[in-house]
């Protein structure tokens, strides 16, 4: 088994196994989304006008909740050292971890975005674009989140700090993703979102790997 396959397999199993599959992050996503009508009132017209983009806020919060232990656990139990001794480059290992996180949590949330967006009164014809854009957005959030998790790996209870650090990175995907959710479909907003998400997903692991090497010192 190659180092990357081994990493993916183990990390996916660990993320999936902890708390019954994707149940916890999905539950959080649903709960966060429920706060929207609770805060805005259930009035139909208001939700139709403002509701669908808020699925993005719920998704961003759900990702933030999973970031804290991503590298902190590896640092605390000594597994980080072994990553640095692998023949595979650390950047690729980190990218693989991000991919495992996307498969275990990002993809389920993106798919769950369909019923949630509908519940927030999105018209049916927006839903395919919303789901696809969420999938991309989650990849972008995870890419940026890897950096935040890596620089804070040695900070105990660093969840709030990660959120603070990572928020400015979340702004662009949320801006463009929300435009898609409001009906921009597969137009320019979707394309920009794709570019942004792929850029984060590709560059995040590089910065995260640099930070992890520093954490091992």
């Amino acid at each position: 088994m190659s180092p990357l396959a081994a990493t993916f397999r183990r990390d996916f199993a660990l993320m999936w196994g902890a708390g019954g599959g994707a149940m916890a992050p999905l539950g959080f996503f649903l709960g966060a989304a429920t706060l929207v009508p609770l805060a805005m009132g259930p009035e139909h017209a208001l939700l139709m006008a403002a509701g669908p983009p808020l699925v993005w806020v719920a998704a961003a919060l759900a990702v933030l909740a999973t970031l804290e232990r991503l590298f902190q656990a590896d640092l605390e139990d000594g597994s980080l050292d072994q990553l640095l001794l692998s023949p595979a480059p650390v950047e690729m290992i980190v990218l693989t971890k991000g991919a495992a996180l996307w498969c275990a949590i990002g993809l389920p949330i993106a798919l769950a975005g369909a019923p949630v967006a509908i519940a927030l009164q999105a018209p049916l014809e927006f839903v395919p674009a919303i789901v696809l854009s969420l999938g991309l957005g989650m990849a972008g959030f995870i890419g940026a989140g890897l950096v935040g998790a890596a620089v804070t790996a040695s900070v105990k209870r660093g969840g709030v700090l990660i959120a603070l650090i990572v928020l400015p990175f979340f702004a662009p995907p949320i801006i463009f993703g929300s435009a898609v959710a409001s009906g921009a479909g597969f137009g320019p907003a979707f394309l920009i979102l794709t570019g942004c998400a792929l850029a984060y997903a590709a560059l995040g692991p590089i910065a995260a790997a640099a930070a992890l090497r520093l954490q091992a010192e």
Partner: protein, 241 residues
């Protein structure tokens, strides 16, 4: 290790007279700039007297951005060449940049209030500045959260550089978003061209801010170096005992 101790010593020698010099320059420039801006410059034909906030708001905006760029350069030098002085410079500049950003946000709010009727408007540039302010907060929070100073310096440097790359993306996104939702902008007094009579006080204030930044930067750096020296002496004393 001896080489990294030698350079801060030279810096301390230089800054011992450079810092007060910049301080004096700052005082002089503010003494010229503030009255010029707040009393003697022309009022805007559209906004009247409220345009005077621009002379405080705009240089603060320019410098909060420039200081983040300075931090980026210092972070890069600190990461690549492991130069302790570069790390100290980045950390020392951050609170100054954050304060300027905060000042920009507050004066922006004050400037907008008479025009918009509310104390905050999600204008494209103000929102970008808010994100920059949050980036500063994140940087400062990361430094505080990590106990080992050298490790904190390296990790914060990575964060600063990544933030620097992200800034244009964020700015572009926010501007795109604001044109989509079309709020009014107050930040161009007199329409798209600035009255030349406003440039004099504006640039005086800009240079005054620069002198202020230099003074505070040197002061912070000197304090940091002194603190490290005290720490090192204390550690040596403890291990000798």
């Amino acid at each position: 290790m001896l080489s990294t101790l030698a350079n801060p010593a030279r810096f301390m020698q230089l800054s011992a007279w450079l810092a007060p010099l910049f301080g004096v320059i700052a005082v002089v420039l503010f003494a010229i700039g503030l009255p010029w801006a707040l009393i003697y410059s022309p009022a805007d034909y559209q906004q009247g007297e409220t345009v005077r906030i621009m002379y405080v708001h705009v240089p603060a905006a320019w410098w909060s951005l420039a200081i983040y760029g300075f931090m980026g350069v210092a972070s890069f030098v600190g990461l690549v060449w492991r130069h302790a002085l570069a790390d100290i410079a980045a950390r020392a500049a951050a609170p100054i940049g954050a304060t300027f950003a905060g000042l920009c946000l507050i004066t922006g709010s004050l400037w907008g209030a008479p025009t918009w009727g509310t104390w905050w408007e999600w204008d494209g540039r103000l929102t970008s500045m808010l994100v920059l302010f949050i980036i500063y907060l994140g940087y400062l929070a990361l430094w505080s959260a990590i106990e080992d100073e050298e490790r904190a310096a390296r990790l914060a440097a990575i964060l600063c550089l990544v933030g620097l790359i992200n800034l244009p993306i964020v700015h572009f996104s926010v501007v795109w978003w604001s044109t989509l939702h079309q709020p009014a902008s107050v930040f161009r007094p007199g329409g798209s061209a600035i009255d030349p009579a406003m440039l004099g006080p504006l640039f005086t204030m800009a240079f005054a801010y620069m002198a202020l930044f230099a003074t505070l930067l040197f002061a912070n750096m000197r304090a940091a170096i002194n603190r490290r020296r005290v720490e090192a002496a204390r550690l040596r004393g403890m291990s000798a005992a």
